[in-house]
Symmetry: D3
Subunit: 206 residues, 6 copies
């Protein structure tokens, strides 16, 4: 009755976004045996290599797209038929994050009608848990990732060209503890469900 | 990892509220073998009898309180140690619903510190899914109750002194279909989680 | 003092959208003698014919646009000078609905400065009354369409190539009853006013 | 089809509140021949006399209550059976305004079940259009009171013991112009509808 | 032109609340030479002594009230005439926090009319930055307290009878870093301004 | 400790927007000796001349851009390195305002990473203080511009080709008084801070 741990595809803007915002959850799904994929636009040789290392650390397959377009995403969604898709929040501060989310959301309806997948779409956290209007993001789906925290941080550390130790690791720590505190565990990641053609995720019971 | 189907206590204002707003979910928990209780203030002989018949139809125990006070609720919570508590929304249109929710929320913290229960608190839907400011209620936890719909409606029909056929059954139908449509099933009930001493429910995965 | 029943233009994305989200209201205006128009981008022969049949059932004129562009809408608005325009919600789930609303809102200001029309713009409901962030749409203008319900459903049924009986008719029923229940009638449609150059609709009294 | 101009009862905390927040609308209803009443708790001889003068200027009957209790309001509502009730916003900055609104809302449901009245309840504006959390009040029902503006200001001026010229008249001017600008007229007053037992006001058309 | 660092009075429910939610800011004001007071209801000998030690560590005066009533607060506000008052959020999860905030807000208007003080009122953060409806608190006034962080944590540690090391210190760390990250410093505390009789704090420039 | 009065760049859609929404604040910064610039797309000879006269009246430099593109704004931001940027609200009613805000927000992140500027970004008010969904704009940063009001109105009056006396000056008066009333002064302008790469403005104290 409870949805089993399903396959996941993340569609994000930058090579370290999947690790930063959803790394623990991806590792959790991967460990449970579900196929996990990270789709990204190609950046450059260095960052693409870091992305591959980060994905490997999480147990995920990396899918580099020449360009992150509606058509490219439709192709990937049709091929992978993921249970779950994770993308940025439409209210995210970063214009590239917004643009990525918008492209994904434009791609989804036709694929859902054709294939029935994805079944659930979630948006992830953003810089310092803020919306672009300066208000906090409301992310009601909170996943305990304590057991995967080291994996997440190791995956994040693969992005050596980025200011991980100075900026992103401390921010991830703070957000992990914030969401963790809200469900009474050490570390958590938080998400918001999006309706697909009017469909939201169901809860099997209370 | 997924929370098992836990015991439930509903604390509501009127004898037909549990059936109306959460009857399907209560029946679902009861059918799964979890103890389900309905706490109510005594009304009068007729309505108390209807409440007993409604509770029985759902597979729930009825707990009539002489008065719905903070102390009475603390006693009941300490005795029952429910996993889940359901009450009205603090933004509910009906003043008696608001008052009941406020009393329950005042009772909860001390009991949680002493007993660790309840672990999750949810608020339920209200008249025509409206808040008292005229905006729709946002209820992100949506439970498929299709299999329990007849049970719910039969329980609701026990309240023969109330305008069930004229008002409450059609409203329940509409709300059941509204929430059902949002998760792609025939009938659903919807709830919003409340933080208990800062703790919200966790999701085991996406 | 009360605004008379004015002419209406709907600008929506798909051939069945006008019927689905505003069919009762359009029929109400048409029956009161106001010119009602439905603007749509051409789709294909089958769906264009269904659109014509749907419009006829509502008493509306169909205006098929080769493409739904800002210029095409400016031309149509300038020609028709409608009192009221109805379009999708900017927070609608469907990307094509959002895009249509954005195009209309871009077209409107220059036409209003030149012609004084439209005087009022409203957005309509969406799939299962949901915003794209999963929250319910707040639609405070609720129109009793009980007398036009059969007309609306007959118009909707003209779209034979679409899953009307399986999906759209039941959803329309549920939303019609939801909004109807909120104003104490059998069926209603609900809308939200948008400011045009800072102007919102006025109420003649309380 | 459009609701006719109905009788109105205002229930507010202080002797000048009815004039300040709804004076133009009350005068409009009174001028259209509808009975208009202003209910207030007795304050002292001076202010009660000012309240009488203010009410007279608006064409309203003054109803002084020894105390503004649920029972007193139930008695008054049952006697007057007003079409419309206006009270403060539940989010109003002033604690006495909140308390008054809460008392009225507690009184209403039983009277509505017994008498069918009031049919519509509205909340009014507050100090500088602010909610108690510092956000602006959202008041979607905007009534053109340009023709009654002098009447309103004359009624407000009856409250000679209060800082009308220094504080309240300028604030009323600013709010009147703010809401007026939003509907393209010189002066307006704005309100928000509240659901009564789940019922909101209906719009006859768009 | 910029408001100088003013005197502060905190009005909170429990002996450790001032340290937990505003300790760094209080220490900052105290260090700048402004009188800082912490008002609390008496609890018991142990906790009152901890409160005194915590206040001393922050450089604040402790004011124990026999009961936290509207009259007691009016007396204290009239005596101290603070520039700034800090209290709990009206949307706080804890019923005692809500009640304290409500009592303070009821006390304020009459004192402001009589004395012109306080000039600014702020609400503070709550458990895991959550509102009682499970959404995050929006606290737009963010104060850099990095230089006072050790002082705050030392003051918090005075409350030896409470689970500081297990619960409150880690939560304070996480919230301090969350708000700090949002303004680019190590630790911050965050607040929301409340209108006093319709007056909000002014910014001298951008 | 308090941020000094910093340099400002406004990026808006039309030649009179800077005066209308931020003229008093710009004059305040200019008078304090901070460089103030107004960036605009070229319109035509008449309006460009009016823009120059308006800017001069405020003590600001005018920067006419051939086209308001991401690249043009990046160039300007890199050259000027302003402390503060002001643009339209993303929820503004006018499509051109939204588009301008979106272009600026797309330009900002890369420049901030490269130069550390701007340090703060604010959005301004809009027509009748309304969002495009008809709700009021929440603008928590309120600046007293009473001393600059005549300067602002004189600058606004330079736009002789526009309906200033009929429309914009009265609207500016009303909004100036609305925001002024909220901080207890005669005239104010109001803004909302936006996070830049997750950074919001800090308050030095309460």
């Amino acid at each position: 009755m409870v949805s089993p741990v399903g396959s996941v595809l993340t569609v994000m803007a930058h090579p370290d976004d999947a690790e930063l915002w959803a790394g623990g959850t991806l590792a959790l799904h991967a460990q449970a045996g579900a196929p996990v994929s990270i789709a990204l636009p190609r950046t450059n040789e260095v960052r693409d290599r870091e992305a591959a290392a980060g994905a490997e650390a999480l147990g995920a397959a990396l899918r580099l797209l020449d360009e992150l377009t509606v058509d490219a995403l439709r192709g990937l969604l049709t091929e992978l038929r993921p249970e779950v898709v994770i993308t940025h929040n439409a209210e995210d501060i970063h214009p590239a994050h917004q643009q990525t989310a918008q492209t994904l959301l434009t791609a989804v309806p036709r694929v859902v009608i054709a294939t029935g997948h994805p079944r659930r779409v979630y948006t992830c956290d953003g810089y310092h848990n803020l919306r672009r209007d300066g208000r906090p993001l409301h992310l009601p789906v909170i996943v305990d990732v304590t057991s995967m925290w080291e994996t997440k941080m190791r995956a994040l550390a693969q992005h050596g060209s980025q200011p991980i130790a100075e900026h992103f690791a401390p921010m991830a720590q703070t957000l992990g503890r914030l969401h963790g505190g809200r469900i009474g565990v050490r570390y958590a990641e938080a998400f918001a469900p999006l309706p697909i053609l009017g469909r939201l995720p169901a809860s099997p019971h209370l």
